[in-house]
Symmetry: C3
Subunit: 244 residues, 3 copies
């Protein structure tokens, strides 16, 4: 299940039933969990002097799509899924079931909870903290330098269930609290309270997430009332119970 054109270091530790695609490179300091699939044209465990000798650990059942680059020194839980051409640099730690969309760019030294989902072309600056069940929609940018360029990097924090809609920018050090929603194309320059909708540039409070309605008139938030696709069964069961 290793394509004959793939270049796999004999030092890499591959679990059972790992598939490696054509023209893909697996470097030395790499652990890939069983049942994982790495697509074509990838470079996995890319060496960096910023994390010498540190392992890249990818959990079980991962799907990494073509043309992706993962640096050495980061750690991922089980069932990681990526789109194409994803980059993840060194010393990021992520929980189970992280999803990173096509062209996603995670700059390293990030702390990422479980069940985080990023759609296409998200930029996550060094030192960002993402809680659990966070959503980042296409072209979201999370920054870390308040007076660019400077030597003071302060990542943003998105707490559990926080949602950042398409093309929004979150400025350095900003905290988006639990269950909040940042509207598309906003610029968030101060903390956002829990369960609050903000929008605009700079972002202002628009309403409570409790005011958001789906077309059928039911509440859109907390989104886990109605959106369950792909989450673990026990998690979904708890949500159903909570909101019934």
């Amino acid at each position: 299940m290793i394509h004959p054109t793939a270049l796999v270091s004999p030092k890499a530790r591959l679990g059972k039933d790992v598939t490696i695609g054509a023209f893909t490179i697996i470097h030395d300091d790499v652990v890939i969990g069983e049942g994982s699939t790495i697509g074509s044209h990838c470079e996995i465990g890319y060496p960096t002097p910023l994390a010498p000798g540190e392992m890249l650990v990818i959990g079980k059942g991962a799907t990494i799509r073509s043309h992706s680059v993962f640096y050495q020194g980061s750690t991922f839980g089980d069932r990681l899924v990526t789109g194409h051409r994803v980059t993840v640099r060194e010393r990021t730690v992520a929980g189970d079931r992280l999803q990173v969309g096509t062209l996603g760019d995670i700059q390293g030294k990030c702390t990422i909870g479980h069940d985080v989902r990023m759609q296409s072309n998200v930029f996550v600056a060094q030192g960002t903290t993402l809680g659990n069940f966070v959503w980042l929609f296409p072209h979201v940018v999370l920054t870390n330098d308040r007076h660019p360029p400077s030597n003071i990097e302060v990542g943003a924090t998105i707490e559990d269930f926080g949602v950042i809609a398409a093309m929004a920018v979150v400025l350095p050090g900003v905290r988006v609290r639990t269950g909040a929603l940042v509207a598309a194309n906003s610029t968030v320059n101060r903390d956002v309270e829990a369960d609050t909708v903000v929008g605009g540039s700079p972002a202002k409070v628009l309403c409570s997430t409790a005011d958001l309605k789906l077309p059928d008139g039911s509440r859109a938030y907390p989104w886990r009332r109605h959106f369950h696709r792909g989450y673990p069964e026990d998690v979904v069961a708890a949500w159903v119970k909570q909101f019934s």
Copy 2:
């Protein structure tokens, strides 16, 4: 004209004079029209369980540049041209002469007319509808989820000759009518009338496109009065006649 390092499925149906670049993969369910050129490091006909057994059909005279990924189950007319690292997912149908710039990301299930042109790094959400002669400029994002995350996806519609300038976001379900112009970095949250210029976040009506002037004082819109590069001769002849 197939590079010796390319991996071409014997099931793929390649027309005459098709060129396949180095390190490129052509999967089973693929039809490529005569005279087409596929660059290096591409993956064409990427299999997906969302369109099992469905063909990827690329018309005649296509140019697909390096590192691009096309899923099975989409159909393109003749003379498709792409930049580098383009992604197109399953079940998109596009007319002749589609141009997709470098890093373009078309998420699938889209309906695209003829002579549509996208510049670099455009994101087109699932279910988007683009008419004929539509332009999307760099970093445009077309979205489809009004209350993210939800199960209700409603793509945007850009009608014939519509133009979306750089970095603008069009929100789900919005219709940009014939010949309208959305200004750079706008957020469009409601329908745009024909031949109207909108801008800002949220986008407001700025003027009629008839008010836009080129530096020589002539009318900038309808843009087909003066911009003809690369369109078919008979189309250009009709435009010249219409506006003379």
Copy 3:
């Protein structure tokens, strides 16, 4: 130091100690300076009818990371550094120590000074002019067509020490003068005076850069007062002297 899977034209002129990664293609009209490293899956000297027979010249000590594409007909000084999946088209001329982040897209015919740094996913339109020590932060877009689509392309100009923060758009023909700062997610539609901070859409003057303070109360600008990482020793020495 040329990987056995790399495809290197015998016409390409490689300096001493040049490293070429796996699955990388080096075309005919290419000069690469000594001590340079080209990563995996790149295509260097990509032929284009827009610059027939013109050389791609890359200076000494370059680092070009994986999946990057450089067209023939551009020229770079020494110590070029790129991230992954960078594209640079034809007839761009850049000075020493250019840095282009992952996914950067330089469209060609640009004039770029020395010590310019671009972070991830920057789009630089044809005909852009960048001075020396310019910074472009993630997802910045520099445009060149005032009435898209038209045949009149006028690139933006960013003068020495100018800084464009994340996700900002600079409109065609706009000049951002020496030492100015454009805030994140702004839309700049008119010239920006030297040492001035602008922000918003359209961007308005917010303050003088002299008003910006670091957390310790010291002046944040001119940024070369405190930010020296990676610049040549003689340059840094002159800055230290200037501001002491």
